[in-house]
């Protein structure tokens, strides 16, 4: 595990619409994972952060309200041996007014705004505390998976 900032080539990969899986903590402390869309933001002083969007009814939202710690593994699209895992916490949870955040994320993955205009969504910003890279972005001499 390394501390941010991430190297430029890892950031370049994270900026693409890759498959990703997030894991949060249930109320009993057990981990629960789920695929998710995300967008990488290089704002916030260059450290970089991740924007996630959750349906207002999503149980993960309650998890993150009770314990903000989460982890996100991003698989390079088409070559999942190359991947980056981010460890951190949600530092901001807010209603996605006008669905502007989910539209940004949806356009990033599909080229189109988000189709569901009815259900409210919540935007979560993940602060990166640690990261771990593999394949093209290996950050250590750790033995293979």
């Amino acid at each position: 595990m390394s501390r941010p900032p991430l190297p430029a080539d890892a950031v370049e990969m994270l900026r693409r619409p890759n498959p990703a899986v997030m894991a949060t903590l249930r109320s009993d402390g057990a981990p629960v994972s789920a695929p998710t869309w995300y967008v990488w933001d290089q704002s916030e002083g260059g450290a970089g952060s991740v924007l996630l969007s959750l349906d207002e009814g999503r149980v993960r939202l309650r998890h993150l309200g009770a314990d903000p710690r989460l982890t996100l593994t991003v698989l390079q699209d088409g070559d999942w041996y190359t991947h980056v895992t981010l460890l951190g916490r949600v530092v901001d949870l807010r209603t996605d007014e006008g669905l502007t955040d989910i539209d940004r994320i949806s356009r990033h993955y599909t080229g189109q705004p988000y189709p569901d205009r009815v259900r409210a969504r919540v935007t979560a910003r993940m602060r990166i505390d640690r990261w771990h890279g593999w394949g093209a972005f290996k950050d250590s001499d750790q033995a293979s998976v």
Copy 2:
């Protein structure tokens, strides 16, 4: 979330060499995720279980020794909107004598035995307590991601 056994079509997907991400708990209780190979075993009374292989030096091994709870999200290869998440715990951790388990898993993914014959490996069997499906294997009427 549903209880096992999983429906036949979900099991059929899980039997294929799909990308997967597992998450375990660090000593401080924070979740940490990583891509992993796995194989689905329909043995054990038809309930089904997952076989994982870890390098002996892997920190996840210490995590699982301290808290056996883990979660595994399996993405359908080529269509990650369709996915199955498994929640459970490691019920068996043992040295992979002769590397027979990692060879089985490696052949499943690459058609070849595992190339590293030097480092010892540990086999972990995951018991499935709950599962959640999406896309073709949706197990609930929950709103979209």
